[in-house]
Assembly symmetry: C2
Amino acid sequence: MSKQAPGVLSLDSGIECCSPLVAEPLSGSQAGELARVFKAMGDPVRLRLLSLIASHAGGEACVCDLTDVFDLSGPTISHHLKVLREAGLIAGERRGTWVYYRVLPDVLGQLADVLAPTSVRRQSTTKAKATQ
Amino acid sequence: MSKQAPGVLSLDSGIECCSPLVAEPLSGSQAGELARVFKAMGDPVRLRLLSLIASHAGGEACVCDLTDVFDLSGPTISHHLKVLREAGLIAGERRGTWVYYRVLPDVLGQLADVLAPTSVRRQSTTKAKATQ
DNA sequence: TCCTTGCTTCGACGACTATCGAGACAGAGG
DNA sequence: CCTCTGTCTCGATAGTCGTCGAAGCAAGGA
């Protein structure tokens, strides 16, 4: 149960495409929304979970695969998955005996755009090719 | 004092340009480095501070400007600035009576690239509007 | 020199978090 | 029906975090 809200990130609250951090001061609510997501990613275990899920073949991973990677109890992994779920980063679906998690589409891209809009990033990251 | 290390983020540990979260599982140390930065950004006050500094005219802001924005004590603002500093996101410099903070260059861009490499981002963001 | 202002450090306190073991729930298979 | 396996929830505990007031430094001006 809980809130596997659609687009939890903030699409609703106006962050989406045009509010890069560096262009203008974040509003209180924007900061609150974003902070919730970054806080969820502010743990090594959760970051690895996210990466494991995102990079897994087929775009989704079974909890059983994830548990083996860490020296942590099942409940702990389950807890971290719940945090990622409630932050709107992943979604889980039960199929038969196993539960599969996948990364929600676009969320990471939108976060990246808030940190540094695409155009800006192209020059600062790859300052050699002045495309675009 | 402290560790205003050069390139704290992780340039050293191999994250920099070619390890997007979604391409392959993060190593333990990569996750640790990244988590430190995301954890620093996982607080609304710190995100707004970061945004205020980044978007301020001249690329830097005096602490006195930042303090007025929040209903928080001076020591608390100072504490948050210290967290951002130790995460390698900002740097402070005293000039006369005032201390000015600025966002370290490229850090946000590199973070963005870890979340979603530039090329991928262009398409996923474009169709974000169609989703939901 | 002393005083004032700006910022940081220190010490403390309440709130939150990561982790665990025990137990509950959901399917699959006998 | 029962049992086994995979996952989640609950309750407890140790540790971390955000916040404050008090005190300390640093710089500029009487």
